[in-house]
Structure formats: structure tokens, C-alpha cells
């Protein structure tokens, strides 16, 4: 188990309704801060603050594209959250799928 951003941090980050809305918009597709601010009823600095919390919780990541900063989901953080919710067999089957599909490509 890695102890980088904790599951607790992820759930705390998502416990705020506005922050959850920001998260859901980012989950839909990668977006810039300005675009997000236009969609939620809070100021742009507030949106930036929410994004910072989501990023620290390992749920989103950002990338500079030209002059803009684009936010998108952080796959590892989401995977950790999922595996927490899934339980042993779902987790094992997901690992099984990854191994089966990866090996199959190598064989070809």
C-alpha cells in the first residue's frame, strides 16, 4: 500500500459540494480553470483553491498547454479510490485483465 495521498484525503476533498462539481466537470473532459469558473457559481480564485485540494488528494492533475493550465483526472488516484471501494475479487479481476491483455500483445 502506498501512503501517498490517502483515501481519507480523497473522500475529504469530495465532501464539499462545489468541489465535487468541479471534480465532475474535470472528469467529463480536461478543462482549463477559466472554463471551470464559468460553470460553477464561485469565483475563479475559489475554483483554483478547489483544484489545489483535489490535486493534493491525488484526484486531478494539471498540465500547462501554452499559456493555459489544463486540469484532468489523475488515473492512479482514481484507481486507488476504486480499488478501495471494489474489494478483493473486483481488484483481482482488474489486475487479471491487465495481465492477460498486456501479455497477449507481447506474444504477437
Amino acid at each position: 500500500m502506498t501512503n501517498s495521498p490517502s483515501i481519507g484525503q480523497a473522500f475529504t476533498a469530495l465532501s464539499d459540494a462545489t468541489r465535487r462539481e468541479v471534480f465532475e466537470l474535470v472528469a467529463e473532459r480536461p478543462r482549463a480553470v477559466g472554463e471551470l469558473a464559468a460553470q460553477v457559481p464561485v469565483s475563479r480564485p475559489a475554483v483554483s483553491q478547489h483544484l489545489r485540494v483535489l490535486k493534493e488528494a491525488g484526484l486531478v492533475e494539471d498540465e500547462a498547454v501554452g499559456a493555459r493550465r489544463i486540469y484532468k483526472l489523475h488515473p492512479e488516484g482514481i484507481a486507488e479510490l476504486r480499488s478501495y471501494l471494489d474489494g478483493f475479487w473486483s481488484r483481482s479481476l482488474r489486475a487479471f485483465k491487465a495481465v492477460a491483455e498486456a501479455g497477449d500483445k507481447e506474444d504477437r
Binding site: 478483493f88 475479487w89 473486483s90 483481482s92 489486475a95
Partner: protein
């Protein structure tokens, strides 16, 4: 919700490989995908061996050379069906009373030449006896576990309302 769904945990995945490969990775390369945190024995897991016939043993081989048999093959029908026993108790130790073991049925269905649906059902969990719900939560947890929890809480509610 009926009793069957309560005493079983079910999960499935769609794998983009031929059915033969899906079956082979599941039965012959178990250690490549099994969660290494969930195994018996103190030494790290080196290999999981499945004797490929009904009645065959499934055992872990550890890095120190020790072995631990924790399952029996109940059905082996490549590439469509694999059923094995779960001879592990609710404290995650070996269960020697075979009446108190559950079973895991894995079905492979070809949905195309390179697509296989794998459906896993861990069933008869109530055979583990007292505290069997703990085993269900350990293997299913998550949403399945929460469903069970909700049902248990609602059942308790009804009980106390009746008394």
C-alpha cells in the same frame, strides 16, 4: 434480495483476449494477478500452483520453499469453467473442516475472437459458519459489502420493530 445473492459475491470483467488465453492466465498464472497481500503463510508468495484436474490441489509456494494448500479444484473444463474451493476461514487461516468452506466459480464466455467475459462468483459463503458475513465483506467489500450491510441493518430494524 434473495438468500442466494446475500451469500455470494459476484463480479465480472471483459477481457480483450481470446477465451483460451483468458482461461490460461487465470488458472496457470494466478500469481501474476492475485493480490499478494491476500495469501496464507508468512513468507512472500513465489508461485501459485493449480493441479489441472478435478480433485487437484491449489497451493501457494513461498520464497522460502514452504507450501500451503488452500483450495481443491472442483471443476476444470477449459476454456469455459473453473471452480475451486475456498478452504480459508474468516480469520484468513486454513480451514480444515471442509464442510465449512465456500467455493469460487469462474465462467469464461467468448464474446468474439478476441473478447472474453469472465464472471466470478464466490458462493456458499454462509458455509463458513458463524461470522461468515466477515468473509463476504473481505472478498466482496465495496458496493457488494455495503448492500449486505444495508440489508443486515434493515433486517435488524425489522427485528427490533417486531419485538
Amino acid at each position: 434480495m434473495n438468500t442466494d445473492t446475500m451469500t455470494a459475491v459476484r463480479t465480472e470483467t471483459l477481457v480483450k483476449v481470446p477465451i483460451e488465453r483468458a482461461f490460461k492466465v487465470f488458472t496457470e498464472e494466478m500469481e501474476s494477478w492475485w493480490d499478494p497481500d491476500h495469501h496464507l503463510g508468512d513468507a512472500p508468495l513465489a508461485e501459485m500452483v493449480v493441479e489441472r484436474h478435478v480433485g487437484g490441489r491449489i497451493f501457494d509456494r513461498h520464497t522460502d520453499g514452504s507450501e500451503c494448500q488452500w483450495s481443491r479444484v472442483l471443476a476444470y473444463e477449459p476454456p469455459t469453467l473453473f471452480v475451486f474451493s475456498w478452504d480459508i476461514n474468516t480469520r484468513w487461516e486454513l480451514e480444515t473442516d471442509l464442510q465449512k468452506t465456500s467455493e469460487v466459480a469462474v465462467t469464461f464466455v467468448a464474446e468474439g475472437p478476441d473478447r472474453t467475459r469472465v464472471v466470478l462468483e464466490h458462493r456458499c459463503l454462509d458455509r463458513h459458519g458463524e461470522g461468515w458475513e466477515g468473509m463476504r465483506d473481505a472478498v466482496g467489500q465495496g458496493w457488494a459489502g455495503l448492500e449486505g450491510y444495508t440489508a443486515a441493518v434493515e433486517g435488524r430494524d425489522r427485528d427490533s420493530a417486531a419485538s
